[in-house]
Amino acid sequence: MSSGTEATTADRKSLAGIVRRLPLEVAGMVVIVVVAALLPAVVPEYQALQWTQWILYGLLALSLTFVWGHAGIFSFGQVAFFGIGGYTYGITAINLINRTGETFSAELAAVVVAALAAAILGYFMFYGKVGDVYVAIITLATTLVLFTFMESTAGPKYAIGQALLGGYNGMTGIPTLSYGWPGSPATPLSVTQTLAIVVGVAGIIAFGLHILLRRPFGRIVAGLRENEDRTQLLGYDIRRYRLIVFIIGGSIAGLAGAGYAAWGMFINPAVFGLQQAALVVIFVLVGGRTSLLGAFVGAILLQSLSTSLGGSDSVLTPIILGGVLIAVVMLLPQGIVPTVSAIAQRLVPQLRPRPPQLPVPTSPPEQLPLPTKSDRASPQSGPLEAIDLRKSFGGLTAVDGVSLTFAPKGVHCLIGPNGAGKSTFFNLLVGRYRPTSGQVIFSGEDITGREPYQRVRQGFGIKLQVASLYTNLTAFENMWLASYANIGNTKAATQRAIEILSWLDLIPQANHLAGTLAHGQRQWLEIGMVLAPEPVIILLDEPTAGMTREETLRTVDLVTLLGKHASVVVVEHDIEFVRQLNVPVTVLHQGRIFAQGGIDELRRDEQVLEIYLGRGGDNVEA
């Protein structure tokens, strides 16, 4: 939710504007910090101890909110990094406290080790293209492996330096947070001082994430969560973004774990347990998966409830907690904070987020000019060639030796009856399929083995048959993500996004969620996204599917115009559209080129009619 709030010009400067744009999260953050400052004065020590633990759990939940709620990576492994952080802190602090006289270096070590663990695990998962469900399973399995491993480290032989790992009994004698200088004895922080530091750090981290999510990085991560395919086709390396998110999440969990070990002066393998892993997910669900503040609300609420019920040893606790979870999921599927926030916005109009002011050009653009080219060095531009492409699926040969050259400028249509191999051929050009044999050459370079996102970076613009938009982001945000992929500059990307939206006549819809646009508008929006990086090859698979006649006619104009600047390849079976375009046409039939020429010429060709009527002679038979 917060990642969507866009900061653009206009009322940015006025104080009132800033206040108005501040979302609930920031207000919540401020409250937390103020409470942190006041807590030591008002709460008795035993309560301060409790609050410290709750906030640390909140920090752990925050790491999952970031990884899951914002980037869409469902990880059971946050407790693994929490535990790794805790043990690392214990080992480092026990060994170093007498030498350095403080334990903050141990905190740092915990973060580094947890980040490293997240990097290794994340690398294998994301670069190995593991599916969503398996990410959940792998992270959970890793956690449980750590649990079993640490359980088995009882006995004096399992020691690192002076730190005994302690097996299922856990590691004892961990120093609390202490400060001092090398050589002098360490001074431990008081309980209330610890609380203030923990709350302060948690607040800063949460605020840092909040800022990060409003940066381009946050938008890209939101795009990743919403539509992986589209993000890839815009030229973003999704594996890298996922890994970065995962490492950040792991570091935060590790920090929380270190704080936890220091707080209790003790850590045991139970932190890696199934119950603990599930608890974090529950904190996040209850507080609200998309809300940074929600992580703390969920953790504090459930922990205080659990404490008042007599702690985790009470028989009642799991039942009541389970009941709360079910009630929240059924009644407030968004979680507590987003729900409360929505109610507050309904009651107090001033709290409603205002749609961002977009820097719309004052004079409407002239009729259909192509958005101005930036002076960026134009990417290589040469013919796209398919050389004797073949693709077989099992025994069926879908594309059977097609050689075609597409000139650097102009529109080319591919048509053909059912099963002609149009879509397969298209996917070979795009790079979604590897050909069984043959080559794809672009500007004299063999690109047969390149991934779609690599082709996009080389100047391909790709629109697949199934509409692929970020339906939960606004039209502007969609276009912005497409522009930023190539420009890499926030301001220039905003400007370009506006240019293309106004060119497509979509400015009135700029702040509407893409999912709420009319079908034709969505298709145009997607075509616009394909254009944003100024591609030199534009590949469109059935751009007019589902359009009304008027929408189709407008698309004809649009595609014709694109053909003046780039090489456009259109696969289409709306013959009316092809007639209107009036460009060179290639008819595919049974995976081969059947005929080529102008549409009028082909219309008079009796043989072309024959194949459309299913009289192609040797029809396929499995």
Partner: protein, 234 residues
């Protein structure tokens, strides 16, 4: 018997059928012709209830189907053979047929099964073969037999001739005619193959852009090249 009035239907926010009208009387064999993507399959899916109507009504035996789920429509006698046949590939031929019988809960299905195996010797021969191992033509026969297991009143067929050898296509023509004449089952057929249709039906509907644009005798269509180019070719 089956009537579509001002039907609008599609996928999500996309409208494919725009004011589609069709009237099929009892015992008829009706063909709907048109190019790829004009909405033929969408029409069949709307009739079966797989996709909801955006507007309009579909009535079957004067009863509005709107609120009937897919399985209830099937039990009322609407059988659908989709373009890719949807044979259960891991089940044997016999089990494919039995699955249909269990679904429609009709009595006496065992006799019916025997009768069908008698009628389609190829299925009797392959009775223990896995559905997925059959050829395209055999799968089409199995799909037809499976539809007949439910004792339907109307059969909806999506391009039954597609991807099938010409010799087997002739066999399917004979089979369909027999189903229509001997069992008195109405057939609504969607096709692109004009020759196939001309062997079966005397009337055809031409569809373009989600609407019926012509209704005419199949012979007229067969002799009118311009019309063929306009709506079936390019």
């Amino acid at each position: 018997m089956l009537r579509l009035d001002d039907v609008h239907a599609g996928y999500g926010r996309i409208t494919v059928l725009r004011s589609f009208n069709l009237d099929v009387t009892d015992g008829q064999m009706v063909a709907v012709l048109g190019r790829n993507g004009v909405g033929k399959t969408t029409m069949l899916r709307a009739i079966t209830g797989i996709i909801p109507l955006q507007k309009g009504t579909i009535t079957f035996d004067n009863q509005d189907l709107r609120h009937l789920p897919v399985h209830a429509r099937a039990r009322r006698g609407i059988a659908y053979v989709p373009q890719d046949r949807d044979i259960f590939p891991g089940l044997t031929v016999l089990d494919n047929l039995r699955a249909a019988a269990y679904g429609s809960r009709k009595r006496g299905w065992e006799e019916q099964l025997d009768a069908l195996l008698h009628e389609f010797p190829i299925l009797a021969e392959k009775r223990n073969a896995q559905g997925g191992s059959l050829s395209g033509g055999q799968q089409q026969i199995l799909a037809l037999a499976r539809a007949l297991m439910t004792s339907p009143r109307i059969l909806l067929l999506d391009e039954p001739s597609e991807g099938i050898q010409p010799s087997i296509v002739d066999q399917i023509v004979d089979t369909l005619r027999a189903i229509n004449e001997q069992r008195d089952i109405t057939i609504l057929l969607v096709e692109q193959n004009l020759d196939f249709v001309s062997h079966l039906t005397s009337r055809a509907y031409l569809v373009d852009k989600g609407q019926v644009v012509r209704e005419l005798p199949t012979d007229d269509l067969l002799s009118d090249k311009d019309l063929q180019h306009e709506y079936l070719g390019i």
